[in-house]
Subunit: 161 residues, 2 copies
DNA sequence: GAAGATTGACTTCTCAATCTTT
DNA sequence: AAAGATTGAGAAGTCAATCTTC
């Protein structure tokens, strides 16, 4: 069976995929535990605060946040439920289109992001810099950017409209 | 804030991490949907069947399966609950150590794996070969192997004991 | 006591369906 | 009808606690 399953080109694609799966799970678990313990935030919560802080005016439409985070619309609703309960994000309405609800970063949310960032970014940097030389890290980042969905986070040209 | 958060080395590590997160989520969603629709299996179910098929005698201790899959012990129990209910895996006991329960691949399970493999592996190969030249794919696989937990899946030297 | 396995309670997400507004 | 947002139901996994066997 081993011979049947691992043939030619499919082998390295499967290998890459399995390693992506395992690496993601392992990294997410440890980074999540640390972020949760030290700052009471989940990975997606941190990423959401980060996107909002980078966004013009500290606010985004929920649908754009979903795209940026790689979550479904309902996933964003539930994520923001928690952040709103914690006072880190508020709802905002759009005057020109009543269907739209904005997620607005509060001052508390911005402070929480800033307080969390140094240790969280250090943890991320530590994991990667322990394992990769600077040029290897750049190569990895470039290769990962070609995966579906991976480039969306960089698309800063998406305005608030 | 943008300037404060994206400085120096932390930038590329964060970039790689976010792309890993998004790429994983996107890939997992699409591959999972296809595998589920065509063969009624989840990603982890497929991986478990694959590990069992590769293992000597088609059986593994649950704790080794957890290690190989990158899941917690309870995650493996719940995963195998489903596979046992479907008749793809059976429980086996270890005579020399009654604490141990084996997961044993059934004939049905092996057939299901073989039937699923061609289309699933083709889907994986398609995703990666669309985006990477062969040498790039090899580079990506090598780099991903350095992530924590990512190399465990290759450790075939872990015997059944 | 430690190792292997399981269970209960929970988190985080998804999909399908729904509601409102355009 | 399509877009944005939300809700109910459920999938998949975690951790902490427990049970049995070593």
């Amino acid at each position: 069976l081993r011979g049947q399953l691992l043939i030619g080109q499919q082998h390295s694609a499967l290998e890459a995929w399995v390693r992506l799966l395992r690496g993601h799970a392992s990294l997410r678990r440890s980074l999540s535990a640390q972020l949760q313990e030290e700052h009471g935030l989940g990975i997606s919560e941190y990423e959401a605060l980060l996107l909002l802080a980078r966004a013009d005016g500290g606010l985004m439409r929920r649908v754009d946040l979903a795209e940026g985070l790689g979550l479904s619309p309902s996933g964003v609703t539930r994520l923001l439920d928690g952040l709103e309960a914690g006072g880190l994000v508020e709802k905002g309405t759009c005057e020109s289109d009543l269907r739209v609800t904005y997620a607005v970063l509060t001052d508390t949310g911005r402070q929480r992001l800033e307080r969390s960032s140094s240790s969280h970014l250090a943890a991320i940097a530590s994991v990667f810099e322990e394992r990769y030389a600077p040029d290897e890290l750049a190569t990895l980042a470039e290769l990962l950017a070609r995966l579906p969905g991976a480039a969306a986070a960089d698309a800063d040209e998406c305005g608030v409209s």
